[in-house]
Symmetry: C2
Subunit: 111 residues, 2 copies
Amino acid sequence: MFEIIAEPNRRAILSLLVSSEQSVGEIERQLRMPQPTVSKHLRVLREAGFVEATVDAQRRLYRLKPEPLQEVDAWLAPFRRFWSAHLDALERHLDRMAQSTRTKRKTRRRK
Amino acid sequence: MFEIIAEPNRRAILSLLVSSEQSVGEIERQLRMPQPTVSKHLRVLREAGFVEATVDAQRRLYRLKPEPLQEVDAWLAPFRRFWSAHLDALERHLDRMAQSTRTKRKTRRRK
DNA sequence: CGTTTATATGCCTTGACACGTATATGCTCT
DNA sequence: AGAGCATATACGTGTCAAGGCATATAAACG
């Protein structure tokens, strides 16, 4: 799964498809990559469940499927907790800094 | 960045570090992989900014750095919007189904 | 000092994969 | 049926990265 999205062209294709479904030719033109390359990457994406296609005569319209990327998202969850904990710590720290600064000011003024 | 986390052993290391910092030896033992392998992967992770190390005598304690994984998270954002839109559509659909079912029941009862 | 412990690095081989080019499949329209 | 377009596949090639093994660096400790 992670191997799939490690490939830059594949990520580009996925990003294209997030707005709406596209035919192979449209992808080919927008990303300026040779048609066999597009088809090969689409095959990989399809077999991994990232996209699905419907036939429209000679064209195939590819669209995004959410599940695999949701799994990536799920893998990230523990790390999100990690860095939000760190952000909280940073915020608390900054709060303390601000507070002590304010305290010092007050103290000085009272003098 | 994506290439970094495409490697299963590296993902395992990252998952280990999410709880707390670990020495090379601890990682080696918990993941049961040869020490040079661990060191090499840690090098890759370090150079890509996923982890950092502090020296403790002969040991190096590795800990997570949030930024690169946050970028992965950021890349996922558009897709999150995509699939939550789809979930919304599904919910609305199910709501309509439930509503029409209830209506039918009422109608039948009234007969 | 020499030895043990902890970690890093170098070299080599192997396998996977992306790409280019050519070709096949399949549909449409005249 | 034949020509042309859209997409898929096959094959050969080059590159790059992971793993295994040996070895280097460096600190602790007796």
